[in-house]
Symmetry: D2
Subunit: 345 residues, 4 copies
């Protein structure tokens, strides 16, 4: 059994890791830390875990995680990179659910996260944890940067088109909608029930951290410069993400069978489901599961491909994907612990 630690397990990605790992056949949760909740039984904070988990939170400051095989960082940005040199030296692998190792360009990281990177050498070796596009690198990585939730949908959506150079890469549009849990487990007015319920709004048209991340990764797939408009919106639902993606086929690519392209691209992927033509996937069809679903549209047989991509932002968009990476890093079945049937209704 792999010995697993979690740093910062009180947020939503933390409790989702706990939900998954509590029943993982090849991993054993040995330590979970929290600055604020040290000593509190995890199940006191999350009664949903009563009977599944007997651990208390350990103190982040004093916990010895060097006995773990792998540690997940479900922490604010900056924590994982501070720990990384010590952990790597101790032979512990790291999966960071925050952004410390996502952007390979340290200048971009500093621009968007207002932190200078403390271990650029480790950044250089870190693997970006999107298995469908980077499986080999993840499998041998010591440090994995778990992707952002929006970037996961945008990359898996645009990838088949960009890889083959079929669309105008300079003018991609991603109109994305997220459930409120994406904002984390925080006391904030903007995500209070009375503010966010029975309401809808865009919120980061003027700039969002997932924009540079997505552009950097999409650029790796495209031989032409990538331009991306990204409009995130807040949906009054707890979990779920729906990205509506627009890309224009090049004149010479108008004859492409785009549906077949996507089916071929993801045929062997256990967690990417290309739906039949004409589908409009519900976010709930992925609720509490690691599945991401894509529907391919081409309205009026025109030059624009419209992709509808759905996932559970806390699973494939965060903790499930992190466990998928862990499975790869330790040679386990990639789907181990991740075979939950979506909860519907």
């Amino acid at each position: 059994m792999i010995k697993v630690g979690i740093v910062g397990g009180t947020g939503y990605t933390g409790v989702e890791l706990l939900r998954i790992l509590a029943q993982h056949p090849g991993a054993e949760l040995t330590m979970i830390t929290s600055r604020k909740e040290a000593g509190t039984p995890v199940a006191d904070l999350y009664p949903s875990l009563r009977g599944f988990l007997d651990l208390p939170f350990s103190d982040t400051a004093t916990a010895d995680l060097s006995q773990c095989d792998v540690v997940f960082y479900a922490t604010p940005h900056g924590v994982a990179m501070a720990d990384a040199p010590k952990m790597v030296a101790a032979g512990v692998k790291i999966i960071d659910l925050a952004a410390d190792f996502r952007l390979q360009d340290p200048a971009k990281f500093e621009q968007w996260y207002k932190l200078s990177h403390s271990c650029p050498d480790l950044l250089a070796e870190a693997a970006y944890g999107l298995p469908e596009l980077n499986r080999a690198a993840i499998a041998k990585a010591r440090i994995v940067a778990n992707p952002g939730c929006y970037p996961t949908t945008m990359q898996l959506g645009f990838a088949p088109l960009l890889k083959k150079g079929l669309v105008d890469a300079s003018h991609l549009i991603a109109d994305c909608k997220s459930g409120v849990s994406g904002a984390g487990r925080k006391a904030e007015l903007g995500t209070a029930f009375s503010e966010a319920s029975d309401n809808f709004k865009a919120y980061g048209v003027t700039g969002h951290r997932h924009h540079p991340e997505t552009i950097e990764k999409l650029q790796l797939l495209s031989s032409e410069p990538v331009g991306l408009l990204f409009s995130p919106h807040l949906v009054p639902m707890i979990r779920g993400m729906h990205s509506t993606l627009y890309a224009r086929l090049k004149p010479e690519a108008l004859g492409t069978d785009v549906q077949a392209l996507f089916e071929d691209a993801y045929r062997d992927e256990p967690f990417v489901d290309v739906l039949p033509p004409g589908s409009h996937p519900d976010t709930r069809s992925t609720r509490a599961s690691n599945m991401l679903r894509i529907a391919v549209h081409r309205p009026d047989a025109g030059d624009t491909v419209v992709l509808l991509v759905v996932q559970d932002n806390l699973v494939k968009g965060a903790s499930g994907q992190a466990v998928q990476c862990m499975n790869l890093m330790f040679g386990l079945d990639e789907t181990a612990g991740l075979r939950h049937v979506p909860v519907l209704p």
Copy 2:
């Protein structure tokens, strides 16, 4: 036109006062204060008011409210009683939407609010602002204590039964359910969307401040000692309150026509609507209006009366009731500014 001031207008009861007063035919909003938002136009904080209100927030510390005829306190507990002596001396009437003047027993106030009362003499003269039960006193009061939201439903529900001594006053049960806006406009984890949505829970069975308030006021209506079980619950909706009330008829009262009793009690009340027998009122039938509706049940013709009482917790349960009191205090038509048709759906 009555000149109106509002202290602490950034919360939900504050913005609801603004919504009502912005179109009140006999009152003019002349000043609104905030500690944090001084200088900010009100409509910047609440875009819903763009075009209806041009005032900025004044600084609470320096604002001169003595020119107002009446000031509403939509503030935390303790603020109104600190201001009251000065305001009353200046001839300004006060309507406090917090609890400072609700409990006539200062010991109870101190026990539940952890504040000692700073002006017990003014407390003694303050009128409890439930017009249907205390209209005359309100009309001539200098200080009105606007009732709590739950207490409004419990008093208007139990009053007809207690006044006539028809039920066992010692064992009343109120199983109450409130929308989340009742908790106020706050950044709190418990009322975050991802915590409170798609969820239901009780939250104050171990004790709630509206309990002593309700008992004190019900006792005024009953010649026998009042005992009350009060179980508040949190409903995943923004506005709305539903109180399900249980009272046992005394053996000698089993022949009472309870439906007729309620219809008679509230026949002339503009804001209390007794529904036809067999009704199950929706909270939304009162949404954004000052109406409270009551359905009277007596299951299996037994000895227990079950009352279903609904209101909008921010209107009849708070700001609408406060304006209703203002109308009484200044000799206006009691319904002035309060004739909104409920918003349904």
Copy 3:
């Protein structure tokens, strides 16, 4: 007082007309019909109207509406055009909230609504009821076609850009999101609470009736052929519509001050509010009001204008706009009966 009739008043646009007209200073509701609810007091079906409306539903088959000055049709498609010749002959004006008089091209109407048009001559004289773009024609019309909800947002959003020829009219994108009440008051599985709540989906990427309507009307504003991608989505909220619109500036128009363009275009409009730069409007900032708000963005100062347009789909998107048209048709103040402050929270 204008005498008003409503045909088919049991749906959401019907009850919203009732909410507005019950307090309209210049109109008097004299008759409301329903096939199924004839004889039932309106307030029995909609308890929110208790005390505001004493009318019962009249039988649609036998009701004599010829005494009315104007009749609103809040009916399924096809009803208004069947009645129109008779009503017009009797001197009664018609405002149709369905689609019978929206598309000037009868072939398109037949294609999308599976009905052949029964009075193409009256269709030819009907005015399209979007006051901000067609005020003069509405004022003198005998028949007004009230616009669809989505088309209202798309037209008011794209109009300033198209009128001046600033953008590539052939590749407009409208990513639109609607609350569930837009589907009407119907017993349908897809809009059941357990299906639509805590969920998000696109639903008409393969074709939607508001697409040809919008294209026909946008074409009137543009000297170049209009192409429009329209992706409607269903949001788990009752009321509210958010359209995110994308249009690319032509190279020669890159220097345009788009914010100023919009502010100028709508400066005198009582129901169109152009927000300050950088705004992200909430749908709730228009809840239960006739206001439509627009925020103008140009991410990274690039060539694409992103417009965020919000409205209440039942008010500016339906019944409020219809009353606005009525006001114009009868020479009343255009805002009469429509000055509701949005309900927030």
Copy 4:
């Protein structure tokens, strides 16, 4: 592997059975029938099951279920009793999720369900499927009547008090609140999103079918006549049930340690969790799991016990409990296939 059939698998209890059984270690789903969806792959109707279930629906009229070891009836009332004689004769066990075998009194059944019972002899031998109170009978039954959702919470709540005769059995009160999925997967106006969202109401104070069921079963636990007031309410959430139960201790029982009583009663139960004193359980702490949680309160140390009971109405309140019964009937581990960690948030 047990061979399992499901009749009527298109409703919410049906799809929840599928979610559970698709991963049950000791059962294999061999047939699922539907009148309307014969031939349709189950995963076409429920995309959440794509990749987990390859079965199509069989035609209810022609499907041969005699090869199954057990058949679940997730059907309208009346279907299971029509099939039961044939199935029992073929050696197939039956678990009915409808009401056909719940009420042992056929007169009550006819009164409440408007059907005369077609096989009273089989009714007499049927076991009531509440394992915690009837485990032995279930284990040897050929026919199990799966309890209603509300009755499960009321029985598990009141049972420890009634069994010991500690409370006034004649005046129990159950104020119950259910998520909307309890009404089933139906196109009905009352449970439409725009009707049920952002709203709260009671709905069956005048009579509900779970009332006679609960009284009949509670009476088995009590030596005194049981009287029960039952007030169901509809909560705007998909899953979840919260029952607030009130019972008055007899004078001689005032010294009872009620908390300890409940802890002792359920210490060995895998699916009943007695919470620490002072708890207010969320319904979401049971979401998508078979756990039921109980908190015990005694406000102001008075004579009334207040119990807060939560469960997922589709799992412990329906399909999970049915699988728990199946496990007992076939000698499997009672928790097999039912160890889902609740989904939170």
